[in-house]
């Protein structure tokens, strides 16, 4: 049994790692990482803008964004992917690479979910912080940038990690529109072996698990470092140093 796994890895590690590259497009784990990283890196700022638009007093901004968020949340990701896959080439008339379609879809979809997290973070801070910022003469954007968002985003780290992790997992759906990612490579391997689907897809699952787990791990240690800094100098040994950490760990 273990021997099967080792053989598969030994024979196909390069395909799983980078796909057909350099004889074909870059694929495999490398492409999954690139797609995930880009999707997260773009969805994050997009979600902040979407959240601010949803909180805006300006209806022209608030209403369309609210509609977009509701529609996006109410439609399965797979539908959205297929829809973009068939409609975008019709609109643009160009041959848009499936990687790009997947990226755009993920950014919109995860951006919408993340924007609700960001919005919740902002709203849960309460009016006091904004009042204080305003009373000191900060404008709306300044208050958001220096006072509201740093707190809202920090408080929302656990929820944001969840969304980031699900972004990584959602890249697998690119399989249906032939995005050459890790899942795509694994199914190629499976098609060649034919008799060992369990082994192949277990390897796949383990790789995704390690990927998602490391992201959670990194985010947690960042969060812990911020909490420690806020608790004061390291040698102060205040009870406050332990308390927020404990609550945060228990949440996760």
């Amino acid at each position: 049994m273990i021997h099967d796994f080792l053989t598969i890895i030994q024979d196909y590690w390069l395909l799983l790692l980078i796909g057909q590259y350099p004889n074909g497009p870059l694929g495999g784990l490398a492409n999954t990482l690139i797609l995930s990283a880009l999707a997260i890196a773009l969805a994050f700022p997009v979600s902040i803008l979407m959240a601010l638009a949803r909180l805006s007093t300006w209806r022209l901004l608030r209403w369309p964004m609210t509609a977009l968020v509701y529609v996006t949340r109410g439609v399965p990701l797979l539908m959205l992917i297929l829809w973009c896959y068939f409609v975008i080439p019709l609109w643009t008339g160009a041959d848009v690479p499936s990687f790009l379609i997947m990226l755009v879809t993920l950014v919109i979809y995860q951006g919408a979910f993340l924007s609700e997290v960001v919005r919740a973070g902002i709203v849960s801070l309460g009016q006091g912080q904004m009042d204080a910022a305003r009373a000191l003469g900060h404008g709306y954007m300044g208050a958001m940038r220096f006072i509201i968002l740093p707190q809202a985003l920090y408080n929302m780290i656990p929820s944001m990690i969840s969304t980031f992790v699900s972004t990584i997992k959602d890249t697998t759906l690119g399989y249906v529109i032939n995005v050459p990612d890790l899942t795509f490579a694994a199914s190629q391997v499976n098609n060649q072996l034919l008799t060992q689907p369990f082994q192949v897809f277990l390897i796949l699952a383990v790789v995704y698990y390690i990927l998602c787990w490391s992201l959670t791990y990194v985010a947690n240690s960042v969060e812990r470092r911020i909490a420690r800094r806020r608790a004061g100098p390291r040698n102060a040994r205040l009870p406050a140093e332990a308390t927020p950490l404990k609550t945060i760990t228990e949440q996760l």
């Binding site: 009042d131 009373a135 003469g137 404008g139 004061g232 100098p233």
Partner: protein, 255 residues
């Protein structure tokens, strides 16, 4: 902002004219007329729900009003204006909240120096030095690198006062600054306020601390049900309140 052609109204810091405000059908402020002279300490007192906090929050336009006007150094705060203009005006009115509202993600010294740096464009090192001086003044120089969460309520409120002072406002507004404090911490905040008053700061304070009102205020505004019923110097107000509602209020306090 040197005074332009305007008349010599220098004595007036805040002038409230015919201010009305209601939440739906419910009137919170009814035709308020009052003024604060430069260098004066005014204490607003009255039973809870009387509109004290709403009134003081309209002075820097944290609350909008329905009609009337509030001028601050001759400029109408509630006139239609660009938000950048309003921000500039607000930055010159210090405001201290009941619930402190310190920025918990910033150290104490950053709490105090953030707004001078970001709003006024003061260089960071200058703002930091100034912040340390202000913290020293409120007796918290040793807490500069602490975070708000590590401080007691009284210490937090003193930081909040230092933060407001960092913008060098000619006027300070206090909205029940000691109401959220444990009794033993009220004194430290009041003594900072007293020293401010002694230095000639123009102050408008909503407070239930009648001792402070008696010792420090130049005038008391007694407000109930959205109306200023009486304005008087403290000795007069506490000895011979004229309005029956004020008499009842003071009698209730003595129980």
């Amino acid at each position: 902002m040197s005074t332009s052609v305007s008349e010599p109204q220098a004595a007036q810091a805040i002038r409230i004219t015919d201010v009305c405000k209601s939440y739906g059908d419910y009137p919170v402020l009814k035709n308020i007329n009052a003024e604060v002279v430069r260098g004066e300490v005014v204490v607003i007192c009255g039973p809870s729900g009387s509109g004290k906090s709403t009134l003081i929050r309209t002075v820097n336009r944290l609350e909008e009003i329905n009609s009337g006007g509030i001028s601050f150094e001759g400029q109408d705060i509630h006139a239609p204006m660009r938000s950048s203009e309003l921000n500039k005006l607000r930055s010159r009115i210090g405001f201290v909240f009941q619930s402190f509202n310190l920025f918990p993600h910033l150290s104490v010294v950053d709490n105090v120096s953030l707004s001078p740096i970001r709003v006024k464009g003061v260089p960071a090192n200058v703002a930091h030095e100034k912040a340390l001086k202000l913290l020293d003044r409120v007796g918290l120089a040793d807490k500069a690198n602490s975070y708000p969460g590590q401080l007691s309520g009284g210490q937090q409120q003193r930081v909040a006062i230092a933060r407001a002072l960092a913008m060098e406002p000619p006027v300070m507004l206090f909205d029940e600054p000691t109401s959220a404090l444990d009794p033993e911490m009220v004194g430290e905040v009041l003594s900072v306020m007293k020293s401010l008053a002694a230095e000639g700061m123009t102050m408008l304070c909503v407070t239930h601390e009648m001792g402070f009102a008696r010792d420090v205020a130049d005038r008391i505004w007694f407000i109930d049900a959205g109306e200023i019923l009486e304005t008087a110097p403290p000795e007069e107000f506490f000895k011979n309140p004229r309005h029956p509602r004020a008499q009842r209020f003071l009698a209730d306090l003595r129980h």
